[in-house]
């Protein structure tokens, strides 16, 4: 059944949106509602961006005629002279196939070979008085995909009627994407949903930098104190939990591997990236270059072993720099002694990290790469190492290695030496720490955001302050899922590179502070605000319950060794 008409077109233009005279009470339609205009052979799909009170003559609005006229008469008068107009931003249009009763029905389908009409960007506008209605479940499925189709994942529901709205997961991982919103808007919960969908549908592998230990192990919600299941518990066979440092456990969950970083893996650039975090001086690059020249990949080890301010007595009984001191090396290498000593002392925080070792017990990075290649998903939990320094250093080094591995795999694939690499999504919380303007040039992340689509690796970035992220990275984001944002700069940042910013800006600022998000960008057919799907037991039942089809039985058997 088609939903009832809510109004009809009274004006507008492609540039300035359509105006719709509302024929139902104004409170039955909200900003952001998904509406359909039926005009001749075309359907137009659009979003309500504004509601306006109008009067045929301003005096009808100014005068409180209900006080002068009997109620019945006043109601009649207001019905004819006062009205509400909707502003509708048309987003897509699609040809409307004739009804089965229509004489053109046969010829139409003969010409179109059962192919459904594809929605196109709007290039024209509907006629005057064309009827407007709320989108039905079918309309939404037509545009956003049917939840029953493969690779479609219900991310939320329309706000008025609660019809399910899907994301196309294939499209989501084709380009980098972002989840934004102020703190407490539900970014982490939404990301859990997305990751569960990705893992379940198997469209891509995921490497998750879990800075706050939210994704892998089970967690407790900060505001409801309810248990929040993690991915490891739900997908024990598919998700590897990696802890940082020897003997790491995460929230009492034992880890599958423990990540140790070899000193050899640290490059001078990794230190330069920490300039702000460690408050390094401009002389740092020169010093690092000298270290690199002299010690090569072992520079970190050698520099760490040097002693700050060590003195010995020489033959003449004078205090001089000891041969294992920083100053001694600097003197020999022609580097400013104060600069070298300064850097050495500032690097003390890095030298002391227990997870950076000379000889790791195992090649964990290699194992992570292998697990990802095998179609598993990896959650790297930072455990007790919750400082920005740990996050920046480890995420960057690991990402650089993975990027290199995928670049090689892609090149092998292109030259016909290997099979197609598996798509990989790298998930980063608090992304602005890694992708801000200063670091953008130095981290592996910005390279991925800008070009790695062609190497099968994309990012899923999660952030509360999108304005702090480098614009070039932001404008590359395909799918953007955005919760409420209070700051104008943040709103502007989320909308960077998108059309019809003005209409969307207000919509973002007026989202519910929790569990409502605006879907935006290249990865969705048109912008749409939705009520987020709830991450609860019902979600897991729907996701995993549906799963026990034939295919999964066979994988289950395989996993059991048959």
């Amino acid at each position: 059944m088609e939903p009832e008409q809510i109004g009809y077109i009274v004006g507008g233009s492609l540039k300035e949106n359509l105006r719709v005279r509302l024929t139902v009470p104004a409170n039955s339609v909200q900003e952001g509602a998904f509406v359909v205009v039926e005009s001749g052979d075309w359907l137009f799909y659009g979003l309500v961006t504004d509601l306006q009170l109008g009067a045929t003559d301003p005096r009808f609005a100014d005068e409180q005629s209900e006080q002068r006229l009997p109620a019945g008469l006043a109601a009649l008068l207001h019905g004819q002279t006062l009205f509400t107009n909707l502003e509708v931003m048309p987003a897509l249009m699609a040809e409307r196939p004739p009804d089965p009763g229509d004489p053109r029905y046969e010829t139409y389908w003969a010409a179109h070979k059962d192919e459904k009409p594809h929605p196109l960007p709007v290039k024209t506008i509907p006629a005057h008085h064309a009827p407007v209605r709320m989108a039905s479940k079918g309309d939404i499925a037509e545009i956003f995909g049917d939840p029953a189709e493969k690779g479609r994942f219900i991310i939320g529901y329309t706000r008025e009627q609660g019809h399910p709205v899907c994301l196309d997961l294939e499209k989501l991982v084709q380009r980098s994407s972002g989840v934004f919103g102020a703190t407490g808007t539900g970014k982490s919960f939404l990301t859990r949903l997305l990751l569960a969908g990705l893992i379940q549908s198997n469209v891509a592998g995921a490497l998750i930098f879990d800075m706050h230990n939210e994704y892998g192990p089970d967690d407790t919600s900060s505001d409801t104190n309810q248990r929040v299941p993690g991915l490891k518990g739900k997908f024990p066979g598919k998700v590897r939990l990696v802890g940082l440092g020897r003997g790491a456990t995460v929230r009492n969950t034992p880890c599958d591997f423990q990540l140790e970083i070899a000193q050899k893996d640290i490059e001078p650039a990794d230190i330069e990236m920490l300039t702000r975090e460690l408050n390094l001086k401009e002389t740092t690059p020169t010093t690092l270059a000298a270290l690199d020249r002299e010690f090569g990949v072992n520079w970190f080890h050698h520099f760490k072993e040097m002693k700050y301010g060590a003195k010995v007595e020489n033959d003449e009984g004078k205090q001089v720099d000891a041969p294992d001191s920083v100053a001694f090396w600097a003197g020999g290498a022609g580097v400013n002694v104060a600069a070298a000593e300064g850097l050495h002392s500032k690097l003390g925080r890095v030298f002391n990290k227990p997870y950076i070792v000379e000889h790791p017990a195992a090649d964990t990075i290699g194992e992570i790469v292998k697990a990802l290649e095998a179609g598993q998903h990896v959650v790297l939990s930072f455990g007790d190492f919750e400082t920005d320094l740990d996050y920046l250093l480890v995420a960057n080094i690991l990402t650089r290695r993975i990027r290199a591995a995928w670049e090689k795999k892609t090149n092998d694939f292109r030259s016909g030496k290997a099979s197609e690499p598996k798509k990989l999504v790298i998930v980063v919380e608090e992304a602005h720490k890694l992708l801000n303007r200063e670091m953008a040039a130095q981290t592996a992340f910005s390279t991925i955001a800008r070009e790695m689509r062609k190497y099968y690796v994309t990012l899923l970035i999660i952030d509360q302050r999108p304005s702090q992220i480098y614009d070039e990275v932001l404008s590359q984001l395909g799918t953007r899922i955005c919760g409420w944002l209070g700051d104008d700069l943040d709103i502007q940042a989320v909308l960077s590179g998108l059309a019809s910013k003005d209409s969307l800006r207000g919509m973002l600022a007026r989202l519910q502070p929790k569990e409502e998000v605006l879907l935006l960008g290249w990865g969705v057919p048109m912008p749409l605000p939705v009520r987020s799907r709830r991450y609860d037991d019902k979600f897991w039942e729907e996701l995993l319950g549906k799963k026990l089809g034939k295919q999964d039985e066979s994988t289950l058997l395989k996993e059991l060794g048959f």
Binding site: T56, G72, L73, L76, L77
Partner: protein, 199 residues
């Protein structure tokens, strides 16, 4: 059903006519009521009474100044007037061969044509036809107390329509008036002010 003759035509033009009658003619119609002027050949004109005019004459002037007027003299003066009571009638439409039109009559009535008050059934039939087209003539008329005329007309007609099964006629009529007058705020408010007294 006896036909009530009101009087006979004094003068007319396309859009209105004036009817004269003796006071005695029983059941004189009221301001705002519908009248008809049958002209033969299945043709009759409908109109609304929008003005009732009583002219004086020499005798009345005399009597007015006299100290006491005898009941007898008073009655005689009213019954046997030299000057008739004049009813101004706004043409609202016509009926030709059984079909009703809310257009101005093609030919106005002629002198001394007889005028009749409409029965409730006739009122219901004429005013229920189409979509209140005859309101046009009322709204366009100059020197007519539009709000009062419409209020009086709607009140009387509502009763006639109700007995003929159209309870919602009054509401529809008001709705139509609002639509017609939406762009004329002062006129609409004056009409609504009058209508406020009857709903």
């Amino acid at each position: 059903m006896p036909e009530i003759e009101i009087g006979r035509l004094l003068r007319s033009n396309t859009s209105a006519c004036v009817v004269g009658c003796r006071v005695a003619q029983a059941g004189l119609p009221a301001f705002g009521s519908l009248v008809r002027i049958p002209l033969g050949n299945n043709y009759q004109i409908f109109g609304l009474i929008y003005d009732i005019h009583i002219e004086d004459d020499g005798l009345v002037r005399q009597l007015v100044t006299s100290e006491r007027v005898d009941e007898e003299v008073l009655a005689d003066n009213r019954m046997n007037r030299n000057v008739p009571v004049e009813f101004s009638v706004l043409h609202a439409g016509y009926e030709q061969d059984g079909r009703i039109w809310h257009l101005l009559p093609p030919r106005p009535p002629l002198s001394l044509d007889a005028i009749y008050a409409c029965e409730p059934g006739e009122v219901a039939r004429f005013t229920g036809e189409g979509r209140f087209g005859y309101f046009r003539h009322v709204l366009r008329a100059a020197d007519v107390p539009v709000g009062e005329l419409l209020a009086a007309h709607i009140r009387q007609t509502q009763a006639a329509q109700a007995t003929h099964g159209r309870e919602d006629w009054g509401q529809a009529a008001v709705q139509e008036l609002i639509t017609l007058l939406r762009d004329d705020y002062p006129q609409l408010m004056s009409v609504l002010g009058a209508l406020a007294d009857i709903v």
